[in-house]
Symmetry: D2
Subunit: 179 residues, 4 copies
Amino acid sequence: MQEKTKYSLNSKAVAEATEIWLTKRGVTKEAIAELVYFLQKDYFPQLTQEECIVNVEAVLSKREVQNAVLTGIQLDMLAEEGKLLPPLQEMIQHDEGLYGCDEILALSIVNVYGSIGFTNFGYVDKLKPGILVKLNSKADGEIHTFLDDIVGAIAASAASRIAHRKQAEREASGDVPLR
Amino acid sequence: MQEKTKYSLNSKAVAEATEIWLTKRGVTKEAIAELVYFLQKDYFPQLTQEECIVNVEAVLSKREVQNAVLTGIQLDMLAEEGKLLPPLQEMIQHDEGLYGCDEILALSIVNVYGSIGFTNFGYVDKLKPGILVKLNSKADGEIHTFLDDIVGAIAASAASRIAHRKQAEREASGDVPLR
Amino acid sequence: MQEKTKYSLNSKAVAEATEIWLTKRGVTKEAIAELVYFLQKDYFPQLTQEECIVNVEAVLSKREVQNAVLTGIQLDMLAEEGKLLPPLQEMIQHDEGLYGCDEILALSIVNVYGSIGFTNFGYVDKLKPGILVKLNSKADGEIHTFLDDIVGAIAASAASRIAHRKQAEREASGDVPLR
Amino acid sequence: MQEKTKYSLNSKAVAEATEIWLTKRGVTKEAIAELVYFLQKDYFPQLTQEECIVNVEAVLSKREVQNAVLTGIQLDMLAEEGKLLPPLQEMIQHDEGLYGCDEILALSIVNVYGSIGFTNFGYVDKLKPGILVKLNSKADGEIHTFLDDIVGAIAASAASRIAHRKQAEREASGDVPLR
């Protein structure tokens, strides 16, 4: 006789699934890190690609971010398989301009690192640099209505995290006038 | 030879689907209106159930609200059918406390009627009066992880809408001192 | 014997103050409408400056928007007069990058017209076209830390409103396939 | 000849001002911790007052939180002194129901610890337990229109933080089934 397993959240499983699903959907940490570099290079000329990756990883370690990534990718995949009910199926499939739940989930990611990330999120979401062009190409029937915005949000969050860290470094090094 | 129909949003279809899906999932406008009455009766003793329904209908006519309703119900239904990938399946199925995408979608509804609705949303979400108890009972294997929060958000939004309208009525009737 | 006047909100006074304060701070509806045109001209080539103004006026008629405008301008003015306490005075005066309450108030404006406005808000906030350059110039000791973001948010909201209206027009004209 | 000091953010000064201003306005960490205990005691019966304080301190160490605290208290104080322009002065002075910028700033605090805090924020904001009654009493001409909501938001955020930590502890102790 099989006993019903009591539910209990397994955080490691959630974190691992986030990493696996992102990879399966064609999004590497390196690709997100490039967006971060694009956003921050003018403010911090010494910024390295490695630092960008470290900050992307830190953002991805947050539960709230993992939840949004998994939920968004799940909806994209179901839309790809045509398994959503109309008219939701059509709105997500065609990345309908008046459908904003993708931006909503993306913003929940940005919020974790504070409001200074809103600007960067909107900027990359409009310009679509790097990996974002590819996610938007709709090549081979792929649908990335949610992932597109989510990747921009992770990059904007990592950029905010870097801005906070750089300030802390500057202050720790004594490069701040006493008042 | 069949031509591929060009995609074009059909707003009426989205509005109708919202109404149909809510009904199918056991949520009537009357039940939401009762939550609104619960929230506002102390502030507006003359408030009628009919007024509450009118305001719920106004909230439901907003595109942003319809998008959130359809997306949330879709995820609930897929979770009920066990069609989501683990660990998302388990988190939504068990209304995991650390999973917050349901609150995120709900908040996007509240936002449309402004920040004064946050308090009412949190209040009914905690107390679970009326229809919200039923949605939370998990009876017969039903899953309403998203709908639960969404219904609370619609009620909170209708309450905000009433507060704005009542003020306008008061001012139109001249019951405001000149300054 | 003077009786203490009972407080009662005067909505007309709030709406008028919003218009007056914006004008005093150098922001005309026409200047905001130009930002709207910049954001939407590629999507709606027939769009006129007059339509943009009408939509800006509609956004400005919302209470939530008026509250954010008045609160933001008030803080800018107090900072200009040096009347805020340190370190808040310094953060607002220098538009400190890690201070995000200006973006927070701006987002509360965008939210009223839904999440599809986030992208446009971030975009103009980064590019600073038209009136936004002037607000950022810090010429003559003027401080527009809040107003800068608020004006971008009003423009993004008006752009969202236009997107919703244009869809409604298209559907009313029968230019949508039946399904 | 005096040189103009170049502006540079001093994070320590911001953190210290936050602590000092809260104390001056009658809000101790202990009082906020009591709200946290009120919110979480049913879920975590072993929870101690000390743990609540530690979590309140962690929330208060976040820049985004400090910015909202300082901005909100500043507006409260200026309203107390009658130094805001009408009609903003009257709206903040009377904690006008249709003025929602206080909830906006509060929500920016809650957001940092994710959407699971919305419910707790709304709940304490409605019930007004502990210190929140006092902040709302308007005794002696004190105005706490912003601080009231901000304190509720800090408590809700600390409650979210505890929920995340407790889950991590449970998993670290092996009290989670392998899957």
